[in-house]
Amino acid sequence: MRSPLAAIFRRDLMLATRIGGGAMVGVVFFLAVVTIVPFGVGPDMNLLARIGPAILWIGALLATLLGLDRIFQADADDGSLDIMMMAETPLPLVIAAKAAAHWLATGLPLVAAAPLLGLFLNVPPEAMGAVALTLAAGTPALSLIGAVGAALAVSLRRGGLLMAILVLPLTIPVLIFGVAATTSVIVGPLPFGQPFAILLALSLMSLVLGPVAAAAALRFGLE
């Protein structure tokens, strides 16, 4: 007998890693985005090193959002969402468990892949750790903010495009402070700690607000 939240976390993780799940899609997309940039920009090593962290962050952001609209849509399509909303377990906690599973399946592989892909972009070695660290701190916020958009997309019965439009503006602060913290390691002049602390604050804020907002959106979708 497991707790309801552990059960849903485990189920979503299993679904993501099975055939048809989205766990590897994000990493492959990330790889694709990052590898084509040097071809487009050309062999200017200094330029690549300067924009490298930003490219890594933009790639990770888009890769996170790629499969995020399915986080509730799949459950809404097969009726699972109905039963989840009826259950005793508070909906925000269910959403938090689903977002946690989503992050573990798609966000964490991005964090692991980022230092390796940094090589393509001539990111200096000392910044590799910073990229991974900022992604680890920032991608949970992306999953949680994305959950709100995914919930809205379900209740408004519109697909992924609407979600991207709704969610992208909300993720911009995460992107700005993630890149700022990483660039500060390479060129300065800001200290690393300041933007990184704000990034952590953004993640914690979305941990509190995201599930509640997503639950409200799902309940609003009841007709």
Binding site: M1, R2, S3, P4, A6, A7, I8, R10, R11, M14, L15, R18, I19, G20, G21, D77, D78, G79, S80, D82, I83, M84, M85, M86, A87, E88, T89, L222, E223
Partner: protein, 208 residues
């Protein structure tokens, strides 16, 4: 004594009144068959009781149930969709819902055996036939204990033998003091009270 009381329920969907001023009471040990032509609001009524559709007006209450729990927490809802993931096995699907909903019923393997899908436990649910999926959905009724069962077309896609099993399961639930509301066109095979939702809402007869 468990009593499900609906008082002057009105349901609107998409701006259209599906039914209005519907009142009825279901007491423990009773099975109610919700009947009516297509579009009369059978599914809407079940979803409304399950808390998945808002009532435009009226009141719903479950007397004698768990006072701490909302009505929807005390209901099983078996809709047209089976709520199973095709890439998980039959056993994984069932044990997930059992864990998520808190269990309290019989063990998952026993429930699958009862419904004749025990030999399919390790098969991904995506390969099941419509009738087998239905039986898997019904297995949830056994592994998780809830006093009120809301069944939308429970016999759809079931073969004759499985319909017999379902009848037995429902009879046991009713005998144990449970409540069943089933929306169906066919006979359920056990003594039921008829709750007819006529298409013209003004004349909807109300079973007391």
């Amino acid at each position: 004594m468990l009593r499900l009381i609906a008082d002057a329920l009105t349901c609107q969907r998409g701006g259209r009144v599906v039914f209005s001023d519907l009142s009825f009471t279901v007491t423990a040990g009773e099975a109610v068959q919700v009947t009516g032509p297509n579009g009369a609001g059978k599914s809407s009524l079940l979803r409304l009781i399950a808390g998945l559709v808002r009532a435009e007006s009226g009141h719903l209450a479950l007397e004698g149930g768990d006072p701490e729990a909302r009505l929807s927490e005390q209901c099983h809802y078996c809709g047209h969709q089976d709520a199973f993931k095709g890439s998980l096995t039959v056993a994984e699907n069932l044990s997930f819902w059992t864990d998520f909903l808190g269990g309290g019923g019989i063990a998952a393997p026993d429930a699958m055996e009862r419904l004749g899908i025990g030999h399919l436990a390790d098969l991904p649910a995506g390969y099941l036939s419509a009738g087998q999926r239905r039986r898997l959905a019904l297995a949830r009724l056994l592994t998780v204990s809830r006093p009120v069962w809301l069944l939308d077309e429970p016999t759809a896609a079931l073969d004759v033998a499985s319909q017999g099993v379902l009848t037995g399961i429902m009879a046991e639930h009713v005998a144990a003091g449970g409540i069943i509301l089933a929306a169906t066109h066919g006979p359920l095979g056990l003594p039921v009270r008829d709750l007819s939702l006529a298409r013209t809402v003004a004349t909807a007869p109300v079973a007391a």
